[in-house]
């Protein structure tokens, strides 16, 4: 088994899984029906992508592992998702700001993965990029609508961007497994993605009349399994049923 490939596959899978699970909390709570449907559709895309990636990770883990055992029976320290994906949704502005910052990163990440040297990751990326491009467009449009909207929407989305900024640093700092995958041309060079991300984010914030936060201290840890206090709660909600009734069937 290639440990680095397994860890890297889980990094991609866990980002999609945790973000999808978190976004699903909006189901039935959207401000209007159309946006409720939009968020649940995006959530479904993420869960679909995470299933394909977890199936691939399960093959590498072996020992009878399945997509379900990886999703429902791993503990907090074994999840490799970025911290930004596990943060609570808070209000509409905060949720969309979170997605805008992540989606933009995700788009450039998957754009590279479409030519990954790993055939399975490449195939998944070629499928997922169409959905991810749609997500990036959706969240960017909302940042512009809110930023260039009312005084209140402007203030709320500016506060959200300011608060979330410290969670964007770890997107571009690779752990040892990601680094090994970058060398093998399986994964992008994360430090290089930063430039593309900065450019797109600056461009959208400017149209949205929002101020881009200054570079400062950044949170990190997700890639190595060190999570925020929010992670335990989201796992408890996602995992309690299969853990309580391990033989339960849908």
């Amino acid at each position: 088994m290639n440990l680095d490939l397994k860890n890297y596959t889980l990094f991609l899978a866990d980002n999609a899984l945790i973000l999808g699970q978190r976004l699903g909390e909006w189901c039935g709570h959207g401000p209007v029906l159309e946006q409720d449907i939009a968020l649940t559709n995006i959530s479904l895309d993420h869960l679909g992508q995470s299933r394909m990636l977890l199936q691939y990770a399960a093959k590498q883990v072996g020992n009878g592992a399945t997509e379900d055992s990886l999703a429902f029976f791993r503990n907090e320290g074994e999840f490799r998702n970025l911290l930004i994906t596990e943060l609570p949704n808070n209000d509409w502005a905060y949720t969309l700001a979170k997605h805008f910052l992540f989606d933009t990163f995700n788009f450039f990440q998957y754009e590279f993965l479409m030519n990954s040297k790993d055939e399975t990751i490449q195939a998944i990326a070629r499928k997922a990029i169409k959905e991810i491009a749609y997500h990036a467009q959706f969240s960017a449009e909302w940042i512009i609508r809110m930023g260039d909207g009312t005084e209140e929407s402007h203030q709320r989305v500016q506060n959200a961007i300011d608060e979330l900024w410290m969670y964007t640093g770890e997107m571009f700092v690779a752990d040892s497994s990601s680094e090994a995958m970058t060398k093998a041309a399986v994964a992008p060079d994360y430090a290089l993605l930063k430039e593309q991300w900065q450019e797109k984010v600056s461009q959208v914030l400017e149209i949205a009349t929002l101020v881009k936060p200054e570079e400062g201290w950044m949170q990190k840890g997700g890639r190595e399994g060190k999570h925020t206090e929010h992670m335990g709660y989201i796992l408890a909600e996602m995992q309690h049923l299969p853990r309580t009734y391990p033989t339960a069937k849908w």
Partner: protein
């Protein structure tokens, strides 16, 4: 009992419909990538429309049922991701059936593969055929659809997204 060969397997598959949009068969949708047969054994390769599309599991089950009923002893359904499904694979007949059903078909050559404020696509109202329509939401009742409204006849309708 009908003869079991590649041709009859294809005929059976042509009758399996999409669970969400029953006017379309899975052949219309273009999700069947390959069919192989040997004796009483058949293998069907399909590709998902959207990665999280819940209809895929139902489609797989429907394929099995249809082929078993047609007399095949062993049915295998395989999924491939690459090359990824695109609306370009939807048949002309499928597009016509969609529009008659009240869903605007994906537009040829105007795929909305745009990111961050790309050019808007022209979508024709399936009811009055007006091209004066507006997008209400990029997302609709299923992953493959967006919500539109006609500015001429005011009818709200689904648009089958181009990907």
């Amino acid at each position: 009992m009908q003869v079991l060969n590649l041709e009859s397997a294809n005929r059976t598959l042509e009758q399996v419909s999409d669970p969400e949009i029953p006017v379309l068969t899975i052949a219309d949708l273009g999700i069947i990538r390959d069919v192989k047969t040997e004796g009483r054994w058949v293998e069907v390769t399909i590709t998902p429309t959207y990665s999280g599309c819940p209809a895929m599991d139902t489609i797989e089950a429907d394929i099995r049922t249809a082929l078993k009923e047609a007399g095949w002893d062993e049915v295998k359904v395989k999924t491939v991701l690459d090359p990824p499904w695109t609306t370009d694979w939807m048949s002309i007949d499928g597009r016509r059936k969609l529009e008659e059903y009240g869903i605007a078909a994906p537009m040829d050559g105007t795929a909305d593969k745009r990111i961050l404020f790309g050019k808007a696509v022209e979508v024709r109202c399936p009811r009055c055929k007006s091209i004066h329509t507006q997008r209400i939401s990029q997302f609709g009742s299923t992953p493959c659809k967006a919500l539109y409204q006609c500015s001429s006849c005011l009818e709200p309708f689904d648009y089958f997204k181009c990907i």
